[in-house]
Symmetry: C2
Subunit: 353 residues, 2 copies
DNA sequence: ATATATTGTGCGACTAGGAGT
DNA sequence: CACTCCTAGTCGCACAATATA
């Protein structure tokens, strides 16, 4: 006589109900091909009536896989970039689910000290692998995870030259190239770039895209750096605008910097889109606000999330309908989409055609 | 001769190293008081040298607890409200970690169909409880979880009158009350309210706060509804502004609505903060943008997250340094903070004092 | 020899009860 | 009888090797 605790049915219960052995039930679930059709349907009926679901924990213990992917949520979200990561979290959760995986969230300090948390989760067999984001130049996680043979994939390159692990990223250089081409096509010939300080992989990549664009169209580069904040962008953009030969277009490394530039422009009585073109990067919600209407580069986050999950699941032999391509390329670069708004192409201009 | 697979040390390994039984090692970890100090330190030394960490999965199987909290990430984030949920996710992850728990992410369709996902996770013993957010009027999850005896707590009330389960929320009525008091103190006597359609718990709550404020200060209520979008807010606010007796202050149910109102105001050549006061709700990043400077109500999300986790962990007997208060109140209401910017109090006005 | 179903065993930790001092 | 420690059994599942047709 067992306690009347609300306990879920087990493999044994199903086996008894169907009049077969436990192993046969297990086979029906994991390798249906090895079970005779007649038996199979009988077992499946029993599974239905008992509403049986395999206990994930017991399965994990036996198979030594948790079917969980670790993802570290950043302690201090920077600026306005959150919307991107927000969508990313949703994207990886959804993609993981399609492969029978779930996402386990944890926090960790940035840099090497945070590695302990990764090690902890691994030692506890809590996760099968990791999805990384917010990667920085010289990120210690890639090397550590690679050295320990832990499956992972990252949203963002390491920029170190050494090729450690799988990554997916958005082609910032190509994106900025689009922006440069866009303003050049609108007739702008003096095109400035509002960038980040030297040394950030993402910033350098976007700068490179700007420089390539300048070469391509034969215009002189005009670069100024800021630390990324709105105020800094405003000051830096102001410096460009106050030159004797001010640019007529300002391509910005981020929406945040672009907001600062917009401010600097309007302060000087100029109208964005008419007197000067401004573009940003990330297409954050604030870019679409009325009165802002910032042209920006939208990142295909959902695609990135799907690709990242596919890559980390590859070595894990994900259990999905189709087997993921085993020899899939460990890297993938997506191109952002230029969303044109009136900051670079005023509605009442009727320019095209 | 075992395979040379990179396998973590187990209880048995530690026991062998320390020259004790497995059970003694288990006691050292879980009930140190029952082990003689001398033995205890010897075992702890072995744990250190082997760098042993209990296998979460094995422990879960035996104790029938996963030390995981389920949290459903919403499929389609609405408007600009994400930053709030972004911070919330981080907050619950951090709070859970303090109690030895982790957060497991999953997706589910809204409403009753999504309950299957909750049931699935429960049947698989994948989680010990749930944290809910994005609750709506008549949300089916509360009743279902309560009926099944599943521990949970919610960010957001059910608004159904029936008291189902623990919740934490932000006092929208009190927040809007602050906004009304603020503009009233600035001399405004004709105060309009830009609200959501009838029937949304959150919207009705905020409206009630507005109405209470009007009664308190003896001003006539002036309410108009929108569906929440920027464009709708712009149209609705425009309707108020074009009246023969337009309001001189506009308290908005959300930042999104406020952005629409700002647009309507500037379109009519009015200056926010000077000619008319505008306030929003949520203090989204876009509220702080230069050229916007929207006065708004900031939600104490970190506190909310901590409280939500405390509540769901209560019935689970969380294992933390201090035992959580067993008879903790199942409800908690936090007051938002009014962040005053120039949309209601222009810098160059020098109003106060 | 092929197809199908079965028994035994262990994953790694906790719970229960017993043995030694 | 306390105190300390240990042996045996269990959680639910899947792997391996075995029976039965």
């Amino acid at each position: 006589m067992t306690r009347a605790t609300r306990t879920s049915p087990t493999l044994a219960n199903v086996a008894a109900a169907a009049g077969v052995s436990r192993q046969t039930v297990s086979n029906v679930i994991n390798t249906p091909g090895r079970v005779a059709p007649e038996t199979r349907s009988r077992v499946q009926a029993a599974i239905e009536t008992l509403n049986y679901r395999p206990n994930r924990v017991a399965r994990s213990l036996r198979t030594r896989t948790s079917r969980l992917l670790g993802y570290c949520v950043q302690p201090a979200p920077v600026g306005m970039l959150n919307p991107v990561l927000d969508r990313f979290v949703h994207a990886i959760t959804e993609s993981a689910a399609e492969h029978g995986f779930h996402v386990l969230l944890f926090t960790a300090p940035a840099g090497a000290p945070g590695l302990d948390r990764y090690a902890e989760l691994l030692a506890q067999q809590a996760v099968d692998g990791f999805v990384l984001s917010d990667t920085v130049v010289g990120d210690p996680r890639h090397g550590w995870l690679t050295a320990h043979g832990v499956p992972f994939s990252a949203f963002g390159r390491t920029w170190t030259g050494e090729d450690q692990g799988a990554w997916v990223d958005v082609d910032g250089a190509a994106g900025i190239g689009q922006a440069v081409a866009h303003v050049h096509a609108a007739g702008h010939r003096r095109i400035g770039f509002l960038g980040w300080p030297d040394g950030s992989g993402v910033g350098d990549d976007r700068l490179a895209g700007y420089q390539a664009g300048c070469r391509r169209f034969g215009v002189a580069p005009l670069v100024v750096r800021t630390d990324g904040g709105i105020e800094a962008g405003r000051t830096a953009a102001g410096g460009l605008l106050d030159r004797p030969d001010p640019p007529s277009a300002l391509v910005c490394v981020s929406d945040l910097a672009a907001h600062g530039a917009l401010r600097a422009v309007t302060e000087r009585g100029l109208r964005p889109g008419h007197d000067i073109a401004i573009t940003g990067f990330d297409d954050t919600p604030s870019a679409a606000l009325p009165g802002i209407e910032l042209t920006s580069l939208s990142q295909p986050i959902e695609q990135v999330g799907r690709a990242v999950v596919r890559m980390v699941l590859g070595p894990l032999g994900a259990a999905g309908p189709p087997t993921p391509p085993a020899g899939a390329a460990p890297h993938q670069l997506f191109e952002p989409t230029l969303v044109i708004r009136s900051s670079s192409h005023p509605k009442d201009d009727g320019g095209s055609t």
